[in-house]
Assembly symmetry: C2
Homo-oligomer: 266 residues x 2
């Protein structure tokens, strides 16, 4: 399971200020800290980027890849910014992402094909609603896959995100159980071993202690791993989650186990 | 998932000495500490009990139930000791346990029927070998269930233990993946929602730090919970495992989630 840091987010004041000022150093420092904590890829979440979208997103991509050559998930809803980011990206790039929403199908999906990159597809209805249950999720997955291949893109480029719900939502627990089931059933349903990604931070949004969040993220991460998840997006400074991911990888490895994969200290 | 403490083990010097001297206080203190740590049941692991088996096992049962009324798993390979323990046990009792081994079928299984208690059945070959793979485990499960119902006992009394293997074994990882799969497939195979138990401490036997053991136990516990496990046997002083069990219960609960189930502090 690939560990993707969701720490580079425009909602964080240090990132927002660095983009505003065109100052690469705070971003570089954060990237180095994330790599030290175990990040194997980065989500560059720049939001809609209403001001100077192309310049700012290209700057963000350039800044991150000046420090690391790991894969970058280009995460903006602004197609112009996304195109500019893809144009300068030398690291392996993943567009994050599209859904059945008409604007995404029209303006985001073609960019992945044009730049020959992987792309994340969310299991959401065209009007951005979450599917109600497991059957609806599977129907959306089939529609999404159909839209994808219909655009002439190879399904090997598709990474499906079944969208983890916050625990605090009334149906959050039920939805996240369906996510586990969908992850297990997808390969058979689609007839191909499609890759999958899940965003773990969404699970624990809202007021709770950092420890409580880590405990819930850790338990759910192991369940996701066991259900076959390929990539997980999370706060890599939650050290217990990084350890759980390494433990899960070892437990699912079908290889000879060595304790060296797990740090001996907390 | 019921949290069963495996801390009352004859291999621990304090327990061995207390049994030797007939001194209940060290046992009572340990039981109270385990309850404080989150134990919801106790495994009373007295080994083969070569000296004064009946007196000592009855003493152990009496001592534990003088402190708590939670379920007790009576865990001795000595049928005379087991009978004496069952005779004095007023708490809910579970015999732990039998297998296809002829001596167990002849001398342990009848005691559960005689005292009308639940009993744990291990997925082991008659010669005590672990099944090689998932298919062999399923075949052993069918044979075990057959032997059980053949003895005239209701399958509602059976708790299947698929036997977790040490990670350090050459095929440990592969075996434990098969355990997860068997837990998922058992209800359909047996045509009844049979309960299951797994011993987590066996996973991490051998030289490793306490933190490393907790990390691996925590990840595997969440996978076991997600696969449908009903009861887990482990060292309840591994606080991270207790927290993971509570988190897993919440994640699988299909109920409205509240953070109060998880301690806000590590």
């Amino acid at each position: 399971m690939l560990l993707v840091a969701d720490n580079l987010n425009i909602l964080k004041p240090c990132i927002a200020q660095a983009l505003e000022r065109g100052d690469p150093e705070p971003i570089r420092q954060l990237v180095r800290r994330c790599l030290g904590a175990g990040a194997q890829a980065f989500d560059l979440n720049a939001g809609p980027l209403t001001r100077e979208p192309e310049e700012r997103f290209a700057f963000l991509v350039e800044t991150v890849q000046s420090v690391t050559s790991v894969p970058l998930l280009l995460d903006t809803t602004n197609p112009a910014a996304l195109g500019a980011g893809l144009a300068v990206c030398r690291n392996p790039a993943i567009v994050n992402g599209f859904s059945l929403e008409p604007a995404k199908l029209a303006h985001i999906l073609p960019l992945a094909r044009q730049h020959d990159t992987d792309i994340v597809g969310y299991l959401l209805h065209p009007d951005h609603r979450l599917p109600m249950d497991e059957d609806e999720m599977m129907q959306v997955a089939v529609s999404l896959c159909g839209a994808f291949t219909g655009s002439g893109t190879d399904t090997a480029r598709l990474i499906i995100d079944p969208v983890v719900a916050p625990l605090s939502w009334q149906d959050g627990i039920r939805h996240n159980l369906a996510v586990l089931s969908v992850l297990r059933r997808l390969p058979e349903l689609l007839g191909t071993p499609v890759r999958t990604l899940a965003g773990l931070s969404n699970l624990t949004t809202g007021p709770a202690s950092a420890h409580q969040k880590e405990v819930m993220e850790t338990a759910y991460l192991s369940m996701l791993a066991s259900a076959g998840l390929d990539m997980v997006l999370f706060n890599v400074f939650h050290g217990a989650v990084v350890q759980a991911a390494r433990a899960s990888r070892a437990l699912l490895g079908r290889t000879l186990f060595t304790w060296a994969e797990i740090s001996p200290y907390s």
